[in-house]
Symmetry: C2
């Protein structure tokens, strides 16, 4: 659409060199304007492998050394450790540095880091430089050996700005993520946790349970149950190959939302079972057909179109960015690009949010109108 | 391994031109020795599309005209119609013709066709020329538009010979299926139905239920739940895109085994849920780890190796073929090739069953020994 802009971050520090951190280090290296990618990991052997594979320009054993002087710090560490590591680095991270993480559960981390839900005062302007992040990309493989510089291309990257978030930090971070090829979607932290419970954590539990059930049946009835496993079974159980420790951490951190998602599923499956037992085939058919229709509506990864800017005059009220981006995110409207038009003589500043195509733009306008946010459209 | 043998069937008739029938017509065309592929379908529009796409050499509106003179008749019709269509064609199908089907549920069809479980007398030698079949290949797409001549390459093709089956019919059919690129596995009809309930029908019900649950959540909480659906969710719900009518037929035909599989799953998921609620993370971790180990043991589709023949002297007792092939099938030992070494002066006849590699061969020997079946190995 336009010439690639330079990265808003010249020096990127990545704390933790697993699948996510390693992939991010590789991807960041390709972004114009990134001058140095510094990586660190608590495990010297992992750091050594990163150096061997050419992942990262500089390898630091101490996270505090790695983070010093960085423009962007990414915490790609297990979810339970994120807040603690952030706090341990708080003093060496610069005031204009943007910090994000990649963990799968958000509300608890934000409560710990920025006192989300309470009053916070972390950044020079009183706003938080920490923007929670969660790339919806992954693999059943894990560890630095699986690192892949193209992992994030076309993936949705969730950001969870809050009323405490620094708008400039959000803008710079989301621009950088788009340069990695990701699509940025902003949602509120609690909603994020409920969404991923359904779209990611529940499927993980189902896949592992199905695989476990089939393996048990194979022991009872002969191995043939696994030999007959065709494409459908392979697809359904793919994520059962994921790292158990990673997943215990995620399920633990997001327990209430996960239990709620499992309960919803149990109830629905019990209803389907009753319809099959009763021989209520019209009901069974209707459920299968409804599911098929929903599956066909799943957004495709490779959709492309014409960008249209929503131009939103920025009233001088805090949190307007989080309000706008999370309202669009919750309606499933991807933010394709985001920038600030700064105030000048005779003109107020404006937030420019680019979305993909007319339909999305008009949908977005309607969403903002219902929230009394004034906006107009400017096609690019 | 050796020069491709000619097809045991010169004229192949395919009744029903959906995904399976259409794909089979395309695949059969590529087998050396197949001289004509005749296709028929109850829907003239489908038959017309088949002719337009060059699927089949001859297109007959009447199944009885199509089946006359065929060496192999494949019933690629909805499962509920299979037995009825077989019976309507019984008089025009030659006595040496082999008949098979591709339906996803087997015991009921066999009961209807050959009086399976009772005494049967269909073929000249008193054995049944009908061998139940079920290719474990498919697609969430359906209909002739989705037909794909490579659909069966590397797929497992289940056959369900019974004590009534004609050995020569089984041998010719399994040889032909291997020429299509499939791996043949023989199992008993009732066990087949229990296996597919777990490996195919349960995953279908879970995928549709998960998709339905997520779509419902999207309505309640905004569209974002679908926008955040990453690879794991897409994999888990892929088969939810399948044809509802096809699946109602399958669930209906295999109801008892499907209910049993759903009950097993519900119980296991309830146990997992309790462990998550109780915060019993060692238990949760153990279950995830067990599932991962089982997932890693799933046989790979592209395994290749050295063929070894199990040479089994054929005692003059009926059903030895079904006994041997289903014993191996239930243990997950694929039959890579199968042939008869006919009796000559000073030599009894033998059944030659080729398996893939030393490990499979020794495993197969052990299985046969436990059943008092004498065999020895002959590497090719």
């Amino acid at each position: 659409v336009s010439a690639a802009p330079a990265s808003p971050f010249a020096r990127v520090c990545i704390v933790g060199c697993g699948l996510m951190g390693g992939s991010l280090a590789l991807a960041a290296r390709e972004v114009p304007g990134v001058e140095e990618v510094v990586v660190t990991d608590a495990d010297p052997a992992v750091l050594h492998r990163a150096a061997e594979r050419g992942i990262g320009d500089r390898h630091e054993a101490e996270a505090s050394t790695a983070a010093r002087g960085a423009d962007l710090v990414v915490l790609a560490t297990p979810v339970a450790a994120t807040a603690r590591i952030y706090q341990s680095l708080a003093d060496v991270i610069g005031q204009r540095t943007v910090v994000t993480d990649v963990s799968s559960v958000k509300a608890q981390v934000l409560r710990e880091i920025e006192g989300y839900g309470e009053v916070a005062d972390h950044a020079p302007n009183g706003r938080s430089r920490f923007i929670g992040g969660h790339p919806m990309a992954g693999s059943e493989r894990s560890g630095i050996e699986a690192a892949d510089g193209k992992l994030f291309q076309g993936a949705t990257w969730l950001l969870t700005p809050t009323e405490h978030s620094d708008e400039a930090a959000f803008e710079r971070l989301s621009g950088f993520l788009r340069q990695l090829g990701a699509r940025v979607l902003a949602v509120e932290p609690e909603l994020h946790d409920r969404l991923v419970a359904i779209a990611s954590h529940l499927p993980q539990v189902l896949a592992s349970t199905l695989m476990d059930e089939a393996a048990d049946a194979a022991e009872r009835t002969g191995e043939a149950v696994l030999a007959v496993a065709a494409g459908g079974f392979r697809d359904a159980t793919r994520v059962a190959g994921s790292d158990p420790d990673l997943w215990v951490g995620i399920l633990r951190e997001n327990r209430p939302a996960v239990l709620e998602a499992i309960d919803g599923f149990l109830e629905r499956l019990t209803t389907v079972r009753a319809a099959i037992q009763a021989g209520d085939w019209p009901e069974v058919r209707q459920r299968l057909a409804r599911a098929r229709a929903a599956r066909e509506r799943l957004p495709s990864k490779d959709r492309v179109g014409r960008l249209i800017d929503l131009v939103i005059p920025v009233a001088d009220r805090p949190g307007v960015l989080a309000e706008v981006t999370t309202a669009l995110g919750e309606a499933g409207v991807n933010i394709e690009d985001l920038s600030m038009r700064h105030a000048s003589a005779g003109d107020r500043g404006a937030l420019l949010v680019a979305v993909d195509g007319d339909a999305a733009a008009h949908r977005a306008l309607g969403i903002l109108e219902r929230r009394s946010v004034i906006a107009h459209l400017e096609p690019r």
